[in-house]
C-alpha cells in the first residue's frame, strides 16, 4: 500500500527500447502492450460486427425490401457471427484483460513466454485478415451461418474454405494464449501467492485456458476436414459418399459449446474482482466461486449435443445431454448467489463499474434462465433454431460477456491509461443501452416463442410488430454504445490524470502506479494473505 508512484521507472506507454512509435508496439513482448494491441484490433472488428448487426435489423424493419438481396443477408449473419464469436467474445477478455492483468495480479513481471504471446497476437491478426479476405475472394462471403453445417457448407459456392481456415488460425492463437496462461499461473506466482490466495480472475483465466487447450483442437480438425472435403472430397461429412452430417455437428459442438464457457468464465472472473472493491469486503464464498469456475470448465465440456436435440440423435443421447445441461447450470447459479451476497453488509461505493456489474448479473440471469429453458427437451423442440435462441445468446454473450467487458474496462481504465473518464457521461450512456438492449433481445425471444425461425431474410406478417420493436431497440442500443465509447475515447486523450488507486481496491494492480511501469513491480511482492483483504486498509 505504501509503495506509491515514487518509482523512477517510466510507464509502459513510454518507449524505452531501441524502437520507437508503431514499431515499438508491433515488436513488443510486454504483456500490457500486447493486451492493448488486442484491444485496439478487436474493437475495430467489433464495430464491423456491430455495423452488420445494425443492417440486419434494418432488413427486418420491412416485411420485404429491396435494399440487399437474400444472398447478402445470409452472408451478413454469417460474417456477423464469425466476427463476434471468433474475433471478439472468444478471445475478448482473456486476450485483453488476461494479458494485461494476469501477471500483475499474481505478482509477476510478465507471462511465461512473452514472445509466444506476441506470436499469438500475430496469429490473431492473420486470422482476422483472412476472415475479411474471405468476404471478397472466391465465391464471396460464406452464407452458411457461423456453424458451417455440412453438407450445405460443402456444397455452397461461397468462400467457406477461406473463412473456415481463418477460424482455424484464430483457434491457434487462442490455444497459444491458453498454454501461456497455464504455464504462467503454475510458474510465476509471487512468493506466498498460494493457489487460494490468487484473485478470482486468475482462477477464471486458468479454467478458461484449460477449455481452450482441450476443446479448440477439435474444432481445428473439424474445420480442416471441411476444407479437405471441399478440395478433395474425402467424404467424411458428405452423405452422398457415406459420410454423416451428424458427425460434423457433434465435432463442431464438442468445441463450440465449451467455447461459450471460454466466453463467459473470464467475464465472471472480472465481475468477481469488481464486486469486492466496491462493497469494501471480501467476496462471499471465495472457494465456492473458484471451484465453480473449474467445474463449469469440466462439466461444460460434456453438454455439447444440447444443440442437436432435433437433429435425429438417439433418444438416449437426448436424455443424457439434457440432464448434463441442467447440471452445468448449477455452478453458474452458485456464482450468482455468491455475487449477490457479496453486497450484503458491505459499504457500497456506487460507481460506474459497479452499475455495469449489476447490469451484467441481471442480464446474465435472463440469458442463463432462458438457457435452462432450451435445455428442457420438450421446450427445446419448439424454440430450437428460432429467434428465442438468438435472444438467449445475445443475452449471455452481449449482456453477459459484453457487459462484463464494459465493467472491466471501466474498472481498469484508470490503471491502463492513467486517465479518468467522466462518470456522468457513462451513467448517461447506460440508460439507452439498457432499455435498447432489452427491447431488442427480449423482443427477439418473444418472436421465437411465436415461431419466427432464425436466419430468415424475410418474415411472415404476424411477426412484423415485434421485429419493429426490436429494430428500434437496436437504435437505442447503438446510441448508448456510441456515447460510451465516445466518453472513453475522450478520456484517453483529454481525461484527468487518475490516481494510482481510485477505487480503493486491494489486489496487487492497485499497489503499483497508474499506468504501470514496464516490469510492473519494482520488486516482486511477497504475499501474506488472501486477495480481498480490506481490514488492513481500514486500519489506516
Amino acid at each position: 500500500m505504501s509503495t506509491h508512484a515514487s518509482t523512477a521507472q517510466p510507464s509502459y506507454l513510454v518507449d524505452t527500447g531501441a524502437r520507437k512509435g508503431l514499431m515499438a508496439w508491433l515488436t513488443t513482448t510486454d504483456h500490457k502492450r500486447i493486451g492493448l494491441l488486442y484491444l485496439y484490433s478487436m474493437i475495430t472488428f467489433f464495430f464491423v460486427g456491430v455495423g452488420i448487426g445494425f443492417v440486419m435489423r434494418l432488413v427486418q424493419l420491412t416485411t420485404f425490401q429491396k435494399l440487399i438481396s437474400a444472398q447478402t443477408y445470409n452472408a451478413l449473419f454469417t460474417v456477423h457471427g464469425v466476427i463476434m464469436i471468433f474475433l471478439f467474445v472468444v478471445p475478448g477478455l482473456p486476450a485483453i484483460f488476461g494479458n494485461f492483468f494476469l501477471p500483475i495480479l499474481i505478482g509477476a513481471k510478465d507471462v511465461s513466454f512473452p514472445r509466444l504471446n506476441l506470436a499469438s497476437w500475430y496469429f490473431f491478426v492473420a486470422g482476422a485478415i483472412l476472415a475479411v479476405l474471405s468476404l471478397f475472394t472466391g465465391g464471396g462471403a460464406p452464407d452458411t451461418g457461423w456453424t458451417f453445417y455440412a453438407p450445405f457448407s460443402l456444397k455452397t459456392g461461397t468462400n467457406v474454405s477461406l473463412a473456415v481456415f481463418a477460424a482455424f488460425v484464430l483457434g491457434f492463437s487462442s490455444m497459444l494464449t491458453g498454454i501461456n496462461f497455464i504455464t504462467t499461473i503454475h510458474r510465476l506466482r509471487a512468493p506466498g501467492m498460494k493457489w487460494f490466495r490468487m484473485p478470482l480472475m486468475c482462477w477464471a483465466l486458468y479454467s478458461t485456458a484449460w477449455i481452450q487447450l482441450l476443446a479448440t483442437p477439435i474444432v481445428a480438425i473439424t474445420l480442416v476436414l471441411v476444407i479437405l472435403e471441399r478440395f478433395f472430397g474425402i467424404g467424411i461429412f458428405d452423405p452422398s459418399k457415406g459420410g454423416d452430417p451428424l458427425l460434423y455437428q457433434h465435432l463442431f459442438w464438442i468445441y463450440s459449446h465449451p467455447a461459450v464457457y471460454i466466453m463467459i468464465l473470464p467475464a465472471m472472473g472480472a465481475i468477481s474482482e469488481i464486486l469486492p472493491t466496491f462493497a469494501k469486503r471480501p467476496i462471499f464464498g471465495y472457494k465456492a466461486i473458484a471451484f465453480s469456475s473449474m467445474s463449469i470448465a469440466a462439466v461444460g465440456s460434456l453438454v455439447w449435443a444440447h444443440h442437436m436435440f432435433t437433429s435425429g440423435m438417439s433418444a438416449t443421447a437426448n436424455m443424457v445431454f439434457s440432464l448434463l445441461t441442467m447440471i452445468v447450470a448449477v455452478p453458474s447459479a452458485i456464482k450468482v448467489f455468491n455475487w449477490v451476497s457479496t453486497l450484503y453488509k458491505g459499504s457500497i461505493d456506487f460507481q460506474p463499474p459497479l452499475l455495469f456489474t449489476l447490469t451484467f448479473i441481471f442480464l446474465f440471469c435472463i440469458g442463463g434462465l432462458t438457457g435452462v429453458m432450451q435445455g428442457a427437451l420438450a421446450l427445446n423442440v419448439h424454440i430450437h433454431d428460432t429467434y428465442f435462441i438468438v435472444g438467449h445468446f445475445h443475452y449471455v454473450m452481449f449482456g453477459g460477456t459484453g457487459m462484463a467487458l464494459f465493467a472491466a474496462l471501466l474498472y481498469w481504465f484508470p490503471k491502463m491509461w492513467g486517465k479518468m473518464y467522466s462518470k456522468k457521461a457513462i451513467y448517461a450512456s447506460w440508460f439507452p443501452m439498457f432499455i435498447g438492449f432489452n427491447m431488442l433481445y427480449f423482443g427477439m425471444m418473444i418472436l421465437g416463442m411465436m415461431g419466427m425461425p432464425r436466419r430468415y431474410y424475410v418474415h411472415l406478417p404476424q411477426f412484423h410488430t415485434m421485429h419493429v420493436v426490436a429494430t428500434v431497440g437496436s437504435w437505442l442500443l447503438i446510441l448508448g454504445l456510441v456515447m460510451f465509447f465516445g466518453t472513453l475515447l475522450y478520456a484517453i486523450f483529454k481525461g484527468e490524470k487518475a490516481e494510482d488507486n481510485p477505487w480503493g481496491g486491494v489486489t496487487l494492480e492497485w499497489t503499483i502506479p497508474s499506468p504501470p511501469p514496464l516490469e510492473n513491480f519494482e520488486e516482486i511482492p511477497t504475499i501474506t494473505h488472501g486477495p480481498y483483504h480490506f481490514e488492513q486498509q481500514e486500519a489506516k
Binding site: D110, S112, I179, P217, A220, L225, K241, G242, G243
Partner: protein
Amino acid sequence: MTGHVHRDDFGSRLGMWLFLVTEMVLFGGLFIGYSYMRYRYPAEFHHGGGELNATLGIINTLVLLTSSLTVVLAIVAIQRAEKKRAMAFLGTTLALGLTFLVIKGFEWGAKFHHGIYPNSHHLATMPPGEQVFFGLYFTMTGLHGVHVIVGLGLLSVMLWWVATDRVRQDRYVHLENSGLYWHLVDVIWIFLLPLFYLAA
C-alpha cells in the same frame, strides 16, 4: 524463451506438454470420427483394411519406434556431454524419419496407381463405407505425415544447434521438447497401425 524472467526449463517443458495436449486432442478428434464411422460400417472397414499393405505399415512402425529410441538416446548423450554421439543419434533419427516418409510415399503411390484417391472414379464405385474408410485413411495418415515433416524440421534445427553448442549439457530443454514432439508423432502412429492396417 524468457526475456526478463530467469530461465525456467520446467516451465518450458510444461509449455511443450500443454502444446502436446492440443495435438493429442487434435488427433483425438479424428479417432473419435474413426470410431463413429467404424461403428456405422464395420464390414466395410474390415474390407477396406484388407486392401492396405500391412507389411509396409508394420515396417514403418518399426522404423518410427527406432527413431524414437535414437532421439531419447541423443538426450542421454547430451546429458553426458557426448556431443558427437548425440549428433550421430540425431542424424539416425532424421534418416529414419525420411525412410518413413519414403515408404509412406510408395504406399500412397500404389494406392493412387490403383485409382484409389479422394474423389477418384474408382472410389466412387465402392460402397459408401469404404469411401469413408479411405477418406479417413488419407486424412489421418496424411496429417500424420505432415507432423513427421514438421518433426524432421525441428530435429534438423536441433542437430544444428547441437553442432553449434546452442544445445549442450547444461541447456538442452529445446532438444527435450523437440524429442517430446517426435515421440508424440510416434505414439499417434502406434494407434494408426492397428486401426487401419490390422483392421482386416
